[in-house]
């Protein structure tokens, strides 16, 4: 696919004992030509032992499965269904386990085709759009502190250092039902734009301006991802770090079809 370049990097960070992030995209190099457009998925798992890793993997796999088996449905509907299905599966799975503690995950997915992007999202992993004007976060954090800021209780700067900055208000797999955020309108993408998905292991320690600077400086998604991950590690790496980036090389009605 030459209309889009996708790259990623992931790292366990400096503090955690295992990497509970999971990410994937479609199509990958060796995938047979099929579904048009590109789908990026990123998940940040939580839960003791390997539960978090299992949750993020399971959510991603469930979503991808549904996406590939429902080509004719509108993408945004499929994504939403996929999120809900992932939630059901993980919730039920942990109910069966003797000791599943809070097995769940964040989940964010972006679909790009023909110069348009749509997304679905639950949790505090983020999606950013980087273009000529700058860097914009297109997802809204489902976190306790983000709600405090939105409610006017604390200022945005206080949110970073708040002792409860990691408490979520929504996640996949922790409750019987989940409310999924989806893009209300598709976002327009131009040649040279970037879509970046990441977990809080990145945005929690690397400010937006720095992410933007790296993207502009480096250009190649794989390299950008690697550099950003390294930056996060250098800044202390308190959590797992995963970055998934897509660069739009061409738009127009024909792109995204191959």
């Amino acid at each position: 696919m030459d209309w889009i370049t996708i790259g990623s990097a992931t790292d366990i960070g400096c503090v955690k004992e295992e990497n509970q992030d999971y990410h994937t995209w479609h199509p990958r190099e060796d995938d047979p030509p099929g579904r048009s457009g590109a789908l990026l998925i990123l998940a940040d798992g939580m839960g003791g032992h390997a539960d978090g890793a299992e949750a993020s993997r399971l959510a991603t796999a469930t979503l991808l499965d549904l996406y590939l088996s429902h080509e004719s449905d509108p993408v945004i509907n499929t994504l939403q269904r996929g999120f809900i299905e992932a939630n059901r599966i993980i919730f039920e799975k942990s109910a069966d386990m003797l000791t599943a503690k809070g097995m769940g995950t964040t989940l964010v997915a972006a679909h790009i085709m023909g110069g348009k992007m749509q997304f679905a999202h639950v949790g505090d992993s983020r999606g950013y759009l980087i273009n000529k004007t700058g860097i914009t976060q297109f997802t809204e954090d489902h976190s306790y502190v983000a709600s405090l800021v939105k409610a006017g209780v604390i200022a945005a700067e206080e949110a970073e250092d708040h002792p409860e900055s990691h408490v979520l208000t929504r996640a996949i797999g922790l409750q019987e039902s989940v409310m999924v955020d989806v893009s209300k309108q598709p976002l327009a993408l131009k040649k040279g734009d970037y879509v970046l998905l990441c977990c809080d292991g990145l945005w929690g320690v690397v400010p937006d301006e720095e992410i933007l600077a790296r993207v502009r400086q480096i250009g190649e998604p794989d390299e950008i991802s690697a550099k950003l991950v390294k930056q996060a590690v250098d800044n202390g790496g308190p959590d797992n770090i995963t970055v998934l980036i897509a660069r739009i090389n061409k738009t127009g009605w024909i792109s995204g079809l191959f």
Partner: protein, 618 residues
């Protein structure tokens, strides 16, 4: 899982899942039904949380009330712990409320409310807060009686909020003061949450109808709810008023305790009859519909609490817990009790001046500032540790006799010094001091020892440790008092004792009542407060409250084995002991950090030491 055994219990069914684990129905060996949860301590990040949980369970275990579900047993299973609770056949109030198309019959609602008041009043009288009251935590059994569950859960959540583990939070029943991280929640917070439950009980709907988290928060903070009587014409005014008062935004405006709330909710029999009669006339739904979860909205909680910390289970308390295993009626030993010494105190038999303290060491009053000082007899002690490179190596150090302040130097003492010498501290000269705001340090104008955080003064805190004092300031005080700062070795020996204890009281992790740490209190505390956490030799606040300056310049590596005083020169001086903000790692007696002599922070204070004997001692 069904058919498997855990301990003496056989799992017979599933009772659902919460945010942190499944609940099972099980049969005990004598055929009784119980509810069983398995708690995986490894998933709880560290043993510290499990231990706190134990302590909580022991306190909670003293509760014995017909409207509170009983904790029956608590035992280890492999790497996990199993919690066995009374099995209650019934339905969550949450589901029951959903099942009513109109209002619940008044008599039923009033009975539920009345029993809730009794349960919480009882718990509060025994010093227990629930902290997570919601309809999902109130079970109505087959006889229509209330069983409240999940006491104590949210206390554990406060531990978790310091962890980096993400977790869920649902905020429909959370009091407004909860959103301000600096405020304490107390009995009045439980009153607010219960009032929301009562509102739903009597008005048939929630006072705030927002569904989005930030809007719900906003409502709690700013929206004044309609009185419940607006939605239930026959509701006695007394109850409507009581609920409205309990829903006041400012805790000071609510009832001051549960007894007051319960009293306000108490109706005379005539009034109950009148209300019941009116409701019957209105011909409302009379039966409880017990099933059906129709399309729940996203932020609705499920049957088991999705508390902020994953892994901590709802427990309900009950009678008689011993440390961890089968619950008996024996009183468990209080945490941090006298297990500090691994051998007896060093018996040097110096019939020193002064009186013996609780640890068997002599205490005197210093002639200049009248502070109580403890005599640390000459002898060896184990200094340093293997855990951090700055603390290596572990060494046997020999010290001569000396005295060290039993308590941190207080604001009162420092005031005396300033009155006598007109001394100006570094922060006063600078016009600012360092204060930690969130995770960042900020130089706050006007912060100095008279107002360590730059905002509140020290009135009423004369007995708190002086803080926002630099090494230079501490040294100046010592000079005036004819004492000195302790060397790091003197400090460490006095703190941990001769045998390499990790903490002043021994090797158990710090608890809320042994040290002022981990922002449990969020500020300094009186220097005499944490008696439970006193060291091997009887000094207090050797862990937590404020960090203490030592005389030494900072260096690492091997120390002089006899009376070490650190290197001749350096750039920074050693501080020890942790602070009211710090977590347990910094509370370890071997822990050390270093700062420039004029560095002034609201977390730093000091204590003094002198040689032996003291001149001019009476």
């Amino acid at each position: 899982m069904i058919g498997e055994s855990i301990g003496d219990y056989e799992i017979t069914g599933s009772l659902g899942k919460g945010g942190f684990g499944a609940v099972w129905k099980a049969k005990s060996h004598d055929g009784a039904d119980v509810a069983l949860k398995v708690l995986n301590p490894q998933a709880l990040d560290n043993q510290k949380v499990v231990k706190k949980f134990f302590n909580e369970a022991m306190i909670l275990a003293r509760l014995d009330h017909p409207n509170i579900t009983k904790l029956m047993e608590f035992f280890p299973v492999g790497e996990n712990y199993a919690i066995v609770m009374e099995y209650v056949e019934g339905e969550e109030l949450k589901k029951i409320l959903k099942g009513f198309k109109g209002l619940m019959p008044f008599e039923q609602a009033y009975k539920i409310a009345h029993q809730c008041c009794e349960a919480f009043q009882y718990a509060h009288e025994n010093g227990i807060l629930h902290r997570d009251i919601k309809p999902g935590n109130i079970i109505i059994n087959k006889t229509g009686d209330v069983k409240v569950m999940d006491f104590g859960i949210a206390k554990m959540s406060s531990t978790a909020s310091h962890d980096t583990a993400a977790s869920m939070l649902s905020i429909h029943y959370v009091p407004p003061e909860r959103f301000d991280k600096n405020r304490e929640v107390d009995a009045r917070s439980d009153i607010y949450s219960l009032a929301l439950v009562f509102y739903e009980l009597f008005a048939g709907r929630r006072p705030f109808t927002a569904t989005e988290t930030s809007q719900i928060m906003f409502a709690h903070l700013n929206e004044i709810p309609d009185p419940p009587s607006k939605f239930s014409a026959a509701l006695p005014k007394q109850l409507s008023d009581a609920i409205a008062k309990a829903l006041e935004k400012d805790p000071d405006d609510r009832f001051r305790d549960f007894k007051a709330f319960a009293d306000a909710m108490e109706l005379a029999n005539d009034d109950i009859d009148d209300a019941t009669a009116v409701f019957e006339d209105l011909d409302l739904e009379q039966t409880i519909i017990v099933d059906t979860d129709t399309a729940p909205t996203a932020v609705e909680e499920k049957k088991k609490p999705t508390a902020m910390i994953a892994g901590i289970v709802a427990v309900i308390i009950i009678a008689g817990a011993a440390a961890g295993f089968f619950l008996t009626k024996k009183e468990a030993p209080p945490p941090g009790a006298a297990t500090t010494s691994q051998q007896g105190p060093v018996k040097k038999d110096i019939a020193g001046p002064g009186t013996k303290n609780a640890k068997g060491f002599f205490e005197v009053q210093h002639p200049t500032d009248q502070s109580v000082m403890v005599h640390i007899p000459a002898g060896e002690f184990t200094m340093g540790s293997d855990q951090y490179s700055a603390e290596k190596p572990v060494q046997k150090i020999s010290l001569s006799d000396y005295y060290i302040d039993k308590f941190l130097v207080t604001n009162a003492l420092f005031q005396k010094f300033v009155d006598a010498t007109e001394y100006q501290t570094d922060a006063e000269k600078d016009g600012a001091g360092l204060v930690r705001v969130g995770r960042r340090w900020k130089k706050v104008e006007g912060a100095n020892w008279r107002s360590p955080d730059g905002v509140t003064g020290i009135d009423g805190r004369e007995d708190h440790p002086v803080s926002q004092v630099s090494y230079n300031d501490a040294r100046s005080y010592c000079q005036w008092a004819k004492k000195d700062l302790p060397t790091e070795a003197m400090w460490e020996k006095a703190a941990r004792g001769p045998d390499g204890n990790e903490f002043p009281w021994g090797n158990e992790d710090p608890m809320e009542d042994t040290a002022n740490h981990d922002s449990y209190v969020g500020s300094t505390t009186p220097v005499t407060a944490y008696e439970k956490g006193q060291s091997f030799y009887g000094i207090q606040d050797a862990a937590g409250n404020v960090y203490q300056w030592c005389r030494d310049w900072y260096a690492t590596g091997e120390r002089t084995p006899v009376d070490p005083t650190g290197p001749e020169t350096g750039k920074e001086h050693v501080i020890k002991g942790g602070s009211f903000i710090e977590g347990m790692e910094s509370l370890r007696s071997a822990n050390r950090d270093r700062y420039e002599p004029k560095y002034s922070s609201f977390l730093f204070g000091f204590r003094c030491a002198t040689g032996f004997p003291i001149e001019g001692l009476k």
